[in-house]
Assembly symmetry: none
Homo-oligomer: 121 residues x 4
DNA sequence: GTGGTCTAGACCACA
DNA sequence: GTGGTCTAGACCACG
């Protein structure tokens, strides 16, 4: 697994786990890979995975059964979507609008965006 | 002035200066606030402002007349817009489209964006 | 059965067994549930129950008749009460007093405690 | 500094910081020792202190000014008392009452407690 | 100087 | 086997 510099590795791993939960690869109630397994799989230290799991646990996305492993919470998918929507509307969308305004972009330049928006009428 | 955690303070200050150049608040050829003025204004260490100015100088957005101050270069506005457009189309726009797709957002939810886009027909 | 994170599961199970012995639910000389029964009842691995029973055996609270089961010893209730009183007066009571002092709690806030103390005059 | 085994070192350090905030040794708004200083002072690893500070930050007890240090929040003292009261009433008090009931303790045995309660009428 | 992240490796209690 | 904590040491960006 390759990582970007801009965000922490542990964050990127957390995001990728969330993606897998939303996509159904990690179903609700299922056990996610153990700390050691996961660390070996993505080639990072166990502590880094541990931190990832801890953060996800604090956000009620996974929960811990002692000595057994971490499991996807019942509420995980909704939780993830909520978090992402909140971030989108409070950070990404305003910033995007600000950029569009500032750069005075034409409709033509934003065509890819409109195309995307029109695909699901 | 308040700062986010995600980006460096000096970056955020640089961005705000660029905003003011693009918007015309700092016209081409004008003198921008001195390091100590600016530091006092935003409540930050002078070193941090100095670093900001150095970076902007490296990007040919401002230039230094020793003992007098920093001035907005002739090419600054175009320079900034080019940099931002490049970043916008290569990073922000694709990411924005990805998010919209992922969160399966309705037109209703994106109303603020359309409102903005329609203001300049 | 639900478990807290602060103490080990086997400890919590041991405590609950001791509670039942003191309260008379498990009388002296009676057979306590088998390992596999108990494991199924509280939803826990048999190893965990086994460890619990071993610890209790070590403290002479239960004894094992091979092939038959574990039985509450003659001395169990006294044994448990002694252990708990010791712990209570050396740990819990001083800590409790410290907390009351530190939080500067009013009599009103401690009403539930007084109510309890007055039930047996 | 010596640590007990029952709780994590980072927790005990957090508790001791809270004590110092409540007692006024670390006044509201003041800077607490840097990670490195604190680590050297109590003889633990920097990571351990870092974890402590992070937890306290999440509980709004300290806040971070980038590149400068951690500072005691305005709301810290109230925050701490709230957290401790909550823990007291939801954990310690019920457990204490349960013990008193179970051990069938006499008023005489609880004299130290009454003495404490009567000191501030 | 400050925080912040990551690694490598160890040790523990628990299931 | 699982999580959980801690250490020692390194490196980075930022002020």
């Amino acid at each position: 697994m390759e990582f970007k510099d801009s965000k922490g590795i542990f964050q990127q791993i957390a995001d990728s786990i969330c993606d897998k939960i939303v996509s159904g690869e990690y179903p609700v109630g299922s056990k996610i890979p153990s700390v050691r397994e996961h660390a070996a799989a993505v080639g990072v230290n166990q502590n880094t995975i541990m931190r990832t799991y801890m953060e996800l646990q604090r956000e009620n996305i996974i929960s811990n059964q002692r000595g057994i492993g971490f499991f996807v919470t019942e509420s995980a998918p909704q939780q993830i979507i909520n978090l992402r929507k909140e971030e989108f509307f409070q950070v990404h969308l305003p910033e995007f609008i600000r950029q569009v305004k500032l750069l005075n972009l034409s409709r033509e330049e934003l065509k890819p965006l409109f195309d995307q928006l029109n695909e699901k009428p």
